[in-house]
Assembly symmetry: D3
């Protein structure tokens, strides 16, 4: 799937429009209703889905369920150690922001009425970080969510026979590095990118979230369009990998 | 500047591509090196720029300055009262996220080497909230920042005669409400929008930040393109208003 | 009302027993049940009264209402920037102390049985500080409270036709600066005062709170008496200004 | 010292202008540079003075010392148990307010230049509370402070031979209970008082702090004057007891 | 009870197997249902037992009671002042660990079914620390607990006539100092010990908790056995002292 | 190594004195100076050792290094989800206690003078919990520590050629379940145990830490002796497994 017009300049030998090797391991935990160890190259995120009956107070009696997410990093997921947020006594801005993004992305494909008054919490813990941790988290969390929904159906907590998940959802990063638009940036490229964008897309190819940031140099409309094209193609490939992972035996 | 192809359906009588009345009042505070009360309709944000010599420890000796921002809401800025974050003892995820967005947006037009080892903190406090508080904050904060930079130059803290601000920057929200793409959403439209996007653009029309979110229904590429067009046009109008405000006498 | 025996030595040309220009602007916020922007010279405090049905748990079933207050300062209200209490993760001692003072002062003129099981929270946020922020807060908060009570009566939440507010209440600072007792100190006088006293008085002239402090030099009974005289006269003038403000059309 | 014009109506048989039995035990701790167990009736406060060389960063190089105080209550000092502030993770408003009052009161009699760049921290921990804990804390802390200053002189940390303590300081509560002004209220009277005042007075009879509060009914000038008279007389008696305690052998 | 085979080398003249002077003063507080000031030499801990009807939510309906403990130190209990945990905003690891140890030790001798749905909280506040604060706390807290249980029985809150306390419990430290196993270490010995062990034993001589730690040099089985022998003998003596204290008149 | 005198009664078919299958995987993380995924049956702990030059302020200039540890659990490590400590804003007592235990245990085999002024932090994060998480953490952390020390030697940060690790260290749990002393309890046995003991032992068989707790029934000296025997034998087997793991190629 490489694009011959763009030279292969990447440190790991990938073409600019090529994903890193992606692995989705279901059932990594014994107890969680859904769990996935997802790997985008060296980035490794453990996604655990916890299904509980009932909803938070502000949803009670609504007939609707709730899906939320929490993202965090182990202190030595990165090349130098970071202090624990539990020890610092507060969750940092970046952690908050990504947790909210993961939750919103998943809710975009959940029919909360079909879920009924049940709650699914997705814990996405980064065991090793090499760029793209939030996009790996979303991609893996969707699979864990699908397993948890299936668990809820099998155990009779989700009733009515309606489909809870209206689509799949995945995410990938894109960016412009040394003037070249590239897909799925590892850390070494991420720090050099002028523009960095995370794009969350459904299995049917519509956008759930587009977050593009230019800390170094603003970008123009043509660059934005190229990045969106790359991201849509990358997410189509991730959706296939999610389908393939879920086509295997139920994890639990 | 209304677009005749789109019917004027908005509660406040505006055309879909029309901004709310925008007011930029410089010098609202006596002591701050830059200060602006910015109003987008009923949304009212006080932006204060504090200029101090020196930089945080991790920038010392770099020869570069630092620009950062903090966003917050007064408890009764909204239609019902919210608890204070100081009383809760922690800053919420939304506050963190917007503070970071405002800071990044401003840094995109700052030449930190030209600023020298000085720090400018932008405090954006929402006195009244009616949608678009983060976009008003960015738009007003740029003007306060420009006044603080001018103050630093006048008082000899910024040396070397290079231009600190490489461009202006503003922001506006766009969204799809009942199928119609619209510019600058007040609260009543914001809650009904399927897609909500905040777009930060420089005075020369390039993108600094694109944040589009679909909590209700994913959006397709055509919708995304229309929203970006609306946002670029709205920001061009905001850049004019910023220029006009700064063309008046120095505030301090 | 100047006292010819005391020379006019003040930086702003006032006589020692003269208030700064006081402005009380009702209805500054669209949504709050009562709101006032109060100005004592350059000191500017936004007082918002939030009326809600019901009372805290420990008052339930008592038939009585509850009135409380929270005071805070914006980070750049002062001549140099202060860190946000939300970011520090805790409310400081001074903030706590003033919040409690404002609440007690207002409760002194509220008949909680006549209010019924309703709660009114007064948020007093200092937008610009030039001395006397707590006394301005009390003086403005009383007017916002009166509007919120009237709102509760008009909307049928306060029943029984009894008068909720048994009196008005205002506050002013007094102090001894260079041996001269003075009324309503701005920051520049406040820091030089040997004795600093805040006196809260009802519209009928009785005391609600007397807080006199000598950080530099203890004061004697004669000085205390003079300060109390000044404060009683100043509060009488503030009570007139409150009455005049409330005599206008209802704010909402 | 009873006043025949006021009937003895108090639960413990005291005359209205009579103090509770006061005990000041010096040297209650082995390690502290000054320490006092002070008792006002059943109220029991342990005051520890910690003398350290050096001052906080903001006083460095000033040539002046620093005196500060922290007040707290053990969880079962009161008739029912209170949660610990350490467990709640924040210091409450009342604790903050009293800590600040104790610190200010002591600083009023300290010549910080004579103290030199040394710090004395007064920890006032209420072991048993029966009203008047803040006034007992101030009264006891002064004696602990005097011992710590003497320790600093004896050990050569306070140089120059100037007197550090310019006067003594003590405090007592007064209040109007059932219309009768009374001195030194225990808890059972305190809760019934219409007006409650804490008055801090130097050994030479001048005022350091006057804090009068009317939560139930405002008070008039005549009542205020009577309360001040009672407090001045009570503090004169406390100053005698402090002198007597300090006249004994040095504690350490 | 000294052992002639071990030379008396201790700074306070004690034999290696001798306790410091132990004092148990019941009824030190007026309001607490049980209270003890316990002294192991210069170590002084105030233990207050608070009896309340009802149990935490997770025990409701179980028919069983709950006993828990909180341990803390006053800031100047030690030779230099420590910061307050309330001011730091968090309880330290050591405090948590000892609180949990005290609670577990007491629960080992409580028949929670016989206690019925009542809660007893033991607050152990160290007023002066000279080593062995946790063992003094357990030893004193048992006596305060016994008084609180008796209070509950006398006031009819503990019903059914069954014995709530199945045994007594006490604790003592042992350690190896300069190669010599020793009982009940004061601070000066504690800091020099290679091995430090706290042993909690019932009145009938069985173990509740054995916590041995070698920060400097690991210890062998023979040393462990000797330390356990010393601790068992020391606890037998403490159990006698507890019995003697409780044999006196009820404290309240 | 099973003992024929004790019947094999355990749910997983093990003999009472048999360890669960233990796996030690070195080099699980790319960046950490030492890292181990350790498994005791279904218990899975990721141990990361971070080597940094320099020591905390209180060790500066001592010539000695510092080794410390932090233990934590992922929210879904357990059968039901726990709230994150970072979100709660405080580290719980159990977490604190285990972190301190792991740190002390490792320091017992470190010659801090030979380490020089370097710091090694061990992060032990429980990915899946099935009993014995603290003992697995100590056992795995030792191996990660050994790799980090070797890294420090290879990179020239540890100088002088002296041996930093004076011995190996491991830990195992033992307990009495239904009257039978057992080694290495999984969760299902742990909750039923009358006595629960964690024993930390060096490779040469001496004790570093003995923590025995009887929440249900006190234990006697004979039981204690049997448990210590089991633990010593189990730790001997763990020391062999550590040696075997470290005998392979250096991980990094």
């Amino acid at each position: 799937m490489t694009n011959p017009a763009v030279p292969a300049v990447r440190p790991d030998g990938r073409a600019p429009d090529e994903l890193r090797p992606v692995r989705i391991t279901r059932g990594w935990l014994d107890a969680a209703e859904g769990s996935v160890l997802v790997e985008f190259g060296a980035t490794r995120v453990l996604c655990a889905a916890s299904f509980t009956e009932g909803v938070p107070r502000w949803k009670k009696g609504s007939g609707e369920g709730w899906v939320t997410a929490e993202y965090a990093m182990l202190p030595r997921a990165t090349s130098t150690r970071s202090d624990r947020e539990s020890v610092k006594g507060r969750v940092g801005g970046r952690t908050h922001e990504i947790s909210r993004l993961v939750g919103r992305s998943l809710r975009a494909v959940v029919d909360v009425a079909a879920l009924g008054e049940n709650t699914i919490v997705l814990d996405c813990d980064v065991l090793q970080a090499d760029g793209g941790t939030r996009t790996a988290a979303i991609t893996g969390a969707y699979v864990a969510l699908a397993d948890a929904v299936a668990w809820g159906v099998r155990h009779g907590h989700v009733k009515g026979g309606r489909t809870v998940l209206t689509d799949s959802v995945s995410a990938v990063s894109v960016g412009i590095v040394d003037g070249v638009p590239m897909l799925d940036l590892p850390y070494v490229e991420d720090v050099r990118a002028d523009t960095d964008m995370n794009v969350v897309v459904t299995g049917s190819g519509t956008f759930v979230e587009v977050q593009g940031t230019a800390e170094h140099a603003p970008f123009d409309r043509a660059e934005l369009d190229t990045l969106l094209d790359l991201a849509v193609a990358g997410n189509a490939r991730l959706a296939e990998l999610q389908r393939a992972a879920l086509a295997q035996e139920p994890a639990r």
